[in-house]
Every structure is written in C-alpha cells, then in structure tokens.
Homo-oligomer: 352 residues x 3
C-alpha cells in the first residue's frame, strides 16, 4: 500500500491490463462492389454485411469458458454505421453484443444477437445467409417476417435485444437445440397501428411486449444430410415456423431448400398469412463457387388484393477465391413482385 | 526520393506503421445480467459500465512517457453507444479520450475524462464506483451533484470535456494531489432555467461558463489506512466537497465511508443544499466477495418541500470469481425516497 | 460433419478466425492542445485530425495483394465522433473505408476516402496537410472548394463516398497518375439553392449528380524536386485545378508552393471564381521542425462585393520531437479576411 489510489488507477489504466491484449481477437469483413438495379443508377454497394468485431474466449478450467463478442456493422461506401435508408442508424454493435459461459451444459449468453431461428436458417440458404440482393435470406427465407418490430426505426429485423441465448451441446454429434428468449422491455419503438387506428394504435410508442418473445430451433446433421426446424414469436405476436434441409450429393455439390410460414393474424387485418419456399445449390469448380437459387413468397388472398403481390426470384452468383480470405464475386438476379427488376453486382469480399 | 508521394502515402498507410501495433492495448468489460426493480419488468441490464478501450504508453527516455487512452462505452443489451434514456447518445468515447505526458513531475493529460473528485471518490465506495443500482456512486456518493451540467442532454454527469488533468507524483509513497481544470468553452448545452424563467433562463442554450470549472482532490494512503478530501465547482457554480476514508481491519475486510455536501445556492432557489453519507464494507471469503453498504442523502428543508425527499439506501452484493477476469454477481438493494423500491440483479462480469 | 451448424458457427465465431488477428494493424493519432483565437475563449482543441484506424494487407501471391483500411475520426476534447459544429456528426469511418487490390497495374480500391486531388495536394503544404488553424489545407490550398457538396450536412468536405479509387504504379520511379470516380448516387444532401430559389432550389434535397464527379492528379518526383497537377469536378459541377511543387534546397530545408483556381459558374451567380496561392517552408533544426507559410485567397470582383473578402494568412509553427511518434508543437497565425484574427496553439501530437 505504498502507492496512492490514483497512482494505482493510472497503473491499472496503462500497464496493469497486460493480460487483456492476448485475449482479444479483432476480425471483420470489408465487402464493396459496383451494382445496378433496373431503373436505378450504377452505384457502389455491398453483397455481405460489413463487420469490425472484437471477441475473446477465456478458459476458466473444468471445461468452462467465458465468451464475449462485440460486432460493429458499417457501410463501406459512405463510412457510416449500418443504416437502412441513410436516415436511421442502427446500434453501433448491430452485429452483436453478447457475453456468456460455455461448458458441458452448452452455451448461455446475454445481450443482443441473431435469434435461434435466424442463426440456424442462414445455413440453408444458397448465398450463405448474406443480405445480398441476389440472396434469399432477408425476404424470402423469412417470408417477410420481422423478428424485432418493437425496436427503434431502422433497427435490425432479425435480432433480439435484451435477450438470453442458449445453445445445447451437440448430442451424439448430431442433434442440437437452440433457444432465445427476450425480456419484455419497452425499447423506444414508434407506434404500430396494427389492428388499431392512427389515433389509437394497437401498439403505442415505446410499448412493452404483452407476452414473452422467443425463438426455438433444432438441427440434426449426419454425414451429408442436415435438417432443421424452427419456430419464433415476436413482440407483436407474429409467428413464423420454418423447416429446411441440405444434402451434399457430391463433395463439390450442396443442394438445399426450405419452407416457411408467417402468421400475422394478431396484428394484420388483411392477408395475415405468408408462405415462402426456396431451393438452391452451391457448386465448387476449382477456385470458384457457383451459387444458384429459386424461390417464391405467397401472401394469402393475393387475387383479392393485388397490392400485395406474389414474389418470384431467380438468382445466379459466382465467387472466385483469390485466397481463403478474399474473393471476387458477380451476381445476377431477377425478382418479380408488384414490379419486376433485374440486378447485377460485381465486387470484392475480404475477411480480416 | 524514387517513390512518388502517393506511393509513399500508401506504403505508410499499409506497411509503414508496423511500430503502431505493438503500442496499442485493447481492453474492455462486458457485463450483462438479469434484473428486477419493484414495479418494473424483468429486464436485461448491467451492473458495471461496459467498455471497449484502446490505450498505450510510449517510453520517451529520461523517465518521461507519453500516454493515450480512448474508451468506448456501450449498452450490451441493445448494442448501442451508452445512453441515458434510449434517446440521447453519449459521446463515442464516453469513458475517456486523453493524451499526455508522465514523468517526475507527475502526469499531465488533455481531453475528456473523470474529474479529480470523481476519480478519487470511487475508491471509497463499496461497489468500487460501479454505477450499479445497488451501488452508491452515481447518486449518494456525489450528493446528487452533476459535474458537467453544461453538456448536451444525455452526456456524462461525472466528467469534464475540454479539460486539463494533473496528477502529482506520490510523495513519500503516501500523498498525492490531483487537479482538473475545464476550459470555459460553450458545448451545446440546452438552456438551464436555474434562478431565471423559461423565457429568460439563467443559463441560455450553448452558454459558456462564467468562471472556470475545476476539481481538486488529495489522498493519503499509509498501510491499511487511506483518506481523501475533494472539492469541485462546475460550470453553473454548484459546489461539492467530500471527505472519506477506508481501513483494512483485516486482509479480508475493507471498511469505508464518506461524507459529501453539495451547495447549489447560485442556481437553485429552494433546497439548494444536499448532504449525503455512506458506510460500507468489502469482505473476501474464498473466491467470493461480499459487498455491504448503507447511506443517506438529505436535501435541506425536506419537511417544507415533500417533493424533495430524503433518500435511504441499504444494499448487499456478492461476487463469485471464476477467474481473475470473470465473475458472477448477485445484488439486492432497498432504496427509500419519494417512493420505495427493491432491486435484484444476477449477472456476469467479464474483463478482456 | 460431426458438429452441428450452430456449433460450427460458434467455433468460427470464437476460434476459427485465428488468422484474423495477425492481419489487422491498429493505428491512430491523438492530438490535443490549448488554443486561443482573437475574441474567443482559451479552449482545448487540436492541430491534426484525430484517428483510430484498422488496416491490413494480405499477400495473394503473384505480386497481388488485398488491402483494407477503416479509420475512425474523433474529437479528443469531447470524446465525440468528428463533427463540424457539435451538432452534425460525420460518419463513424470519416477518415476512410476502403477495400481493394494492389498489383503491377497499380492500386484499385472501392468505398470512401480522400480524392486524388486532395490526397496529392496535402504533400505540398507546409503543415503537411493537417487541418490546423495555422495551416493552409482546408481553406487556401483548395481555394474554398468543397469536394462533396451533395453529402449530409456536416459531412466531409474533401472526400468522395460511393467511389472507385485508382493509383497507377510509379513509372520509372518518377511518374504517377491517380484517378477517383464517384457513382451518381443520391446521398441525403439537403437542398442547395445554387442559381435557383429557396422554393425551387437548383439542387433539391437528396439529389443525384447529373454528371459523374471525378478527380485526377499526376505527380513527378525526381531527386529533390517534386511537382503535381490536379483537376476535380464535384456533384454540382464546381471545378478546381491546381499545380504545385516542392524543392529540397538542402537536406534540412524543403520549400514548397501551390496555385489553385476554383470555378463555380454552374451554381453561383456572383463571384463564381476564386484563386489562391501559397508558399511555405519546412526547416529541420536538431529535434525541431520549423513550419512557415504565407498565402492568399482571392474571389473575383471583391471590390464590387465587399462581403466576399480577400484572405491573407501568415503562419509560423514549431514541432519539438520527443520521439519518432510524439512531438510537442506551438503555432502562431494571423489571418485577414472580412475580420482579422490571431491564433495561438500549444499542444502534444502522439501517433500510436
């Protein structure tokens, strides 16, 4: 005790945390390309989410580990935090902010991240769950469903904030169950009209969920075959269920498909049900990877309500790997909904 | 000079800064838990500040060092930058952003950080200065005082921006003096009514302080005994003075207490004076640490103005250390003010 | 295939990216000082941009490399992201966010960064392109020109978002050409009145450029002599051209100067043309560096429109190097425009 408190504080601040450096891994993705959508200008955009992350594992002994992960998301073309329209920024750690423990019991984490359904389903999608325009994850693979509607405008559509995340161990090397449960906290959402009126919205601004939102998924993967099933209910009681499978017909060829069904009967008066399906393939050729997909999204009663259109999407993509961390890509896609648009994209994807 | 400027710029940008990597330490805290306040929902929250920091020391020779530190603060439950109500974000480097020199003369730094009073007093508080609901730092240990009222809404309440920070060397291994002085810069504060009216506020929006805000603290630590005294005056001329002590009665037991008195006579018409005191203990039991505290905050003339209530808080906490960097915790607290509330919290605290 | 997808995802998230850590260099600058401008208060400010960056190079073989760079900019006195007036924050990665490839063909990058003109011209300025009040880069060396007027308020004035950046190889060890081209994307700019009216602005809010903005520069550096020429046209068709040179008369002495001419005839009705020139010197004395500069900025027809004044600036600065990474500095400057102001600054500049 020969040093004063401030001296100790300074020492801790500047030298005492030497153990810290070794425990943090910095990682990320920078993906930028040139793209063209029918009717739009040639623009600089992205195929994948852009990430700058910090993570670590601490071995606590006896098979127990502590885990943390913080992931910034950003737009490389403008240098901003990830946003939806240029106006509403998402959280700094949009990717995730979670801490927890891993052991024989599985993994338990607290914070913000992808739900069990969203994390599981991305693996059964031909663009690997990337939010590419040519991909199927953000629209068709979730049948238009939004995981966290009671968030601020512009927030994520596939994550829970204020949540507990559980992943079971892989039983028999085959089976795993995942569960995400969200606390019933108000989170500064704008009013959601739902079955109410603008003056008396079903969900007023800054509402708390009336029932607990949760997400459940299960996977079984054995040799070349993998299947999953998932169910999720959000804060305004919209529900989705989904099943899917992949099959590695050859070492170079992975076939996959999924079916999903959204039920919004609790908060939508017309066309509350939406079904979607997709099939896809990944084919490896030398340093290249061909991505193929076709899918449809069908709101019910489309015939009676032409404003709510059926969606059909066909896409092809090609990755050329310059290294295990870097590839060039080209995508082409045709999407028919209320209007029809072609999309082309050419870019570079770099992991660090 | 065989390379062009841009080539040199690129080289510098991509390879020339090889020395840089070795000089930066990344550190941080991720603390998340489940908590329940009387009348509120079960929610995901935190006990400690959550940090992601970057710091370094450069040895300049002759006992001189250059120091820098940048510290992001964030909310792990939502992934956002730290904020107060979900609406007003704090600065990206809310924790601190400072650069300076350390030598025989002590430490001089410029930028933004905790004032001398705030940095010193946290060490005499049973929750180690954490902003836990069960802790005493943010309300009782400062007698309701705000260090930087002329900041934007939602900004920090215990830091100076635009400041110079001085810490003396530890004289005789015992004594240290710390001084923080803030420049009289306007900093985009909203109007503060004070003794004026809404139409003619005492401090208009974006005011500059009329006198220089400063903070002074002194510590003496010898063997098991430590004492401090501190005085601070902010930009609207509210003042606080505080004294405190700790005593390590046994190696496992640290007793502590402090007294503080805020004087707002320059800008508040009724109840301008507030006194507070607290006592606490930290007791180590094996891998565990028990935290105990009791304190009161007394605005003057409470009897004549029942809206300004006396506060009484009793708290107990327990940390279970899984490693030197990771612990689980449980807190329970009862706080009586205008209303009475119980608080319970269970979580994980991970340093990296 | 004995592990489930989520297990694999976790493994990837926590251990699989071991290659990542080695590829990221963290670097930055923390510069803070005390400054005084005639008529203003003594304040804490900066001489240089403050940076926290992440960058890396991946060797792809055959002389090809992948590059990325992300650079946060911030204000050390308040801890915020860099901003212009305290009200409008710039992008998180204001410095740059770029990814690309380098090879025999030169360097191609996509994203956001300094234009060819801006990046080249900084090297011919006596304050090394720093945005110091005593320096010439932000006002005189660009003759008042703004690179990206169709950005959100407060955004950068010398960068392109949504751009492709090309730097040629250095031909013969002497010549290099640089080109930046911006996509014609709307980017949430406020309305710009231009030659229109407030009701019918020439460039409405969120306009797309009608012609493609671009920037071109060329350098020739041979022994002690370097020259450049540059031309740039922005999204509202303002143009600038610039030429400059440096000459190392002695190893300790670098002389430099530049001339630039802005043409705003497409969007300004009075005084559309502005010319500027500057001369400067850097002189090394032991561990010190003396910076000297003089320059003028002349809008046309100043006599007929006294509100648009001629600017004359003279500055002297001194750096004292404590190490290759850290120096103390002092600046003094006199600037005559519509008003005349003296500026003094004393601070510390630390690279990490």
């Amino acid at each position: 005790m020969k040093k004063s408190l401030v001296a100790l504080a300074l020492m801790g601040a500047f030298t005492g945390a030497a153990y810290a450096q070794s425990s943090v891994t910095i990682y990320g993705t920078l993906d930028a390309g040139i793209s063209k959508l029918t009717g739009g200008t040639t623009s600089v955009g992205k195929r994948d989410n852009n990430k700058l992350g910090f993570k670590g594992v601490e071995d606590l002994g006896s098979g127990l580990s502590a885990l943390f992960q913080l992931e910034i998301r950003y737009e490389p073309d403008t240098g901003t935090i990830e946003n939806t329209s240029g106006a509403n920024s998402r959280p700094l750690f949009q990717g995730q902010s979670r801490v927890g423990l891993q052991g024989d019991f599985g993994t338990v984490r607290l914070g913000r991240g992808l739900t069990a359904f969203q994390e599981t389903s991305t693996q059964f999608e031909p663009w690997s769950g990337m939010p590419a325009v040519a991909g199927y994850q953000t629209d068709l693979q979730v049948a238009g469903y939004t995981t966290d509607p009671m968030s601020p405008v512009g927030n994520s559509r596939n994550r829970f904030s204020n949540a507990v995340f559980y992943n079971s161990p892989v039983v028999g090397g085959i089976f795993q169950v995942n569960l995400t449960v969200q606390a019933k906290e108000a989170n500064n959402n704008p009013a959601i009209v739902g079955k109410g009126t603008a003056a008396a919205p079903q969900f007023p601004a800054n509402s708390a969920p009336t029932t607990t939102p949760y997400s459940l998924s299960a996977t079984a993967i054995n040799g070349p075959l993998g299947v999953y099933g998932a169910y999720e209910k959000n804060a305004i009681q919209s529900k989705i269920w989904s099943v899917g499978a992949f099959y590695k017909a050859m070492p170079e060829l992975k076939l996959m498909g999924s079916y999903q069904s959204q039920d919004q009967t609790e908060n939508v008066t017309i066309n509350p049900k939406t079904k979607a399906w997709l099939v896809g393939a990944n084919y490896t050729v030398g340093a290249g990877l061909v991505r193929l997909g076709y899918g449809q999204k069908d709101p019910d009663n489309v015939l009676n309500s032409p404003a709510i259109a059926k969606t059909k999407q066909v896409s092809i993509g090609y990755d050329y790997n310059l290294s295990p961390r870097t590839y060039l890509y080209i995508d082409a896609s045709n999407k028919k909904a209320t209007t029809t648009a072609n999309f082309y994209s050419l870019g570079i994807h770099h992991n660090f």
